[in-house]
């Protein structure tokens, strides 16, 4: 499927998107806490360093939108860059640090390409070990049934929103599988680039379109994907 347009299966992708599995997530979170598994969901905030005041300041949706409006790009930490990365994982492996909002693509010689990402909002974070099952360029997005029911704007796309710059999946999508099963989670682009660095999605990993195009060009179907998320409400593949 790589390199071709593909029909998107129903996905929780965008902010405010479907509540598929919501009850299961809530139950999982309650049970995790009740059984004292040490990962009590403590919801954190993103902070950025303000060089003028020399203080760490809250970076929420409003701050992010203002920053992006001024700079036309996210803070430097969330921009694509090569970093030191000591790991035994093979080059080509994707490591997602959901807490710090980074996606690493492992490279040879203890290096990785680091990209900024947006991740699942409160109650939608997940962790696990999965793989890239397939990929698509400018994928079609089909809103989940729950979203179609409650959101008149989504209703017109019940049969699928064609790929394009306004599509919530953005320029590329990497479909994450657990064995041969589609997890319904994706790594994908976004028409909302200011949301990089935030907890905003329904569990998908979102990237700037330029970044997801770059990642898509480097990743092979079958690549291992490790998702780290302290306080995850759900686990996949382990």
């Amino acid at each position: 499927m790589t390199g071709k347009k593909a029909m998107e299966t129903r996905s929780p992708t965008s902010s405010g998107a479907g509540n598929t599995n919501l009850h299961r997530r809530i139950l999982a979170a309650v049970l995790l806490v009740a059984f004292g598994l040490g990962t009590t969901p403590t919801y954190a905030e993103t902070q950025i360093f303000d060089p003028q005041t020399r203080k760490w300041v809250k970076y929420d949706r409003e701050a992010a939108r203002k920053y992006f409006s001024r700079n036309k790009q996210p803070p430097e930490a969330f921009r694509r860059q090569v970093v030191k990365f000591r790991t035994a994982e093979e080059p080509g492996t994707i490591i997602i640090d959901g807490n710090q909002h980074f996606l690493y693509l492992v490279q040879p010689n203890h290096q990785a390409i680091r990209y900024g990402i947006g991740v699942g909002r409160e109650g939608f974070g997940w962790a696990g070990i999965v793989r890239v099952g397939r990929t698509a360029e400018w994928p079609t997005w089909t809103p989940p049934a729950e979203m179609v029911e409650r959101d008149p704007n989504a209703r017109k796309w019940a049969a699928g929103m064609p790929g394009g710059p306004d599509n919530p999946l953005g320029a590329r999508a990497l479909y994450l599988y657990e064995g041969d099963q589609d997890t319904i989670y994706r790594i994908h682009g976004t028409p909302e680039p200011w949301t990089i660095g935030l907890d905003v999605s329904s569990g998908c990993i979102r990237m700037n379109n330029d970044d997801v195009i770059d990642l898509h060009s480097r990743v092979k179907v079958g690549a291992k994907v490790v998702v780290l998320m302290q306080g995850a409400a759900l686990y996949k593949g382990v």
Binding site: L31, L32, F35, G36, L37, G38, T39, T42, Y43, A44, E45, T46, Q47, I48, F49, P51, T53, R54, K55, W56, Y59, P75, E76, A77, F78, Q81, V83, K84, F85, R86, T87, A88, E89, I95, D97, N99, Q100, H101, F102, Y104, A112, G116, A127, G128, I129, G197, K224, V226, L228, Q230, G231, A232, Y235, G237, V238
Partner: protein, 123 residues
């Protein structure tokens, strides 16, 4: 000089020191990080590569495949060390790793693993 008279100057002096320390504290600003490090989460977890080094060590120790070992939480212990908690094929393990990437210890931890608890709940 009565005791009361003797103590009077002490109170303003203490308050002065307190105020001075507050003022000094207010002047202290964070050291400026490198531009690529100018973002963080208030939830201070171990760097991802260090978590994965612990996962590799746990996979060997638990004789589990690396595909079945997942870091589930982490924290900074001091300036140079992190603790990483892992689920190794259902067994809970705890790892200490330093910021240079040296795994200092890996051992089973007290709590049951996530999978074990899930199995109990299913019964």
């Amino acid at each position: 000089m009565s005791l009361r008279q003797f103590r009077l100057p002490v109170v303003p002096a203490t308050a002065g020191i307190f105020m001075a320390s507050l003022t000094l504290a207010g002047c202290v600003s964070s050291p400026e990080p490198e531009p690529q490090a100018m973002a963080r989460s208030s939830q201070q977890t171990a760097p991802a590569d260090l978590q994965l080094l612990c996962a590799s060590a746990a996979a060997s120790a638990a004789e589990a495949g690396s595909a079945r070992v997942l870091p589930v939480s982490s924290r900074q212990l001091d300036a140079g060390n992190y603790q990483v908690d892992l689920d190794a094929a259902g067994k809970r393990m705890s790892c200490i790793v330093d910021s240079e990437g040296n795994v200092k210890s890996i051992q089973p931890s007290g709590n049951g693993g996530r999978a074990e608890v899930a199995a109990e709940m299913a019964n």
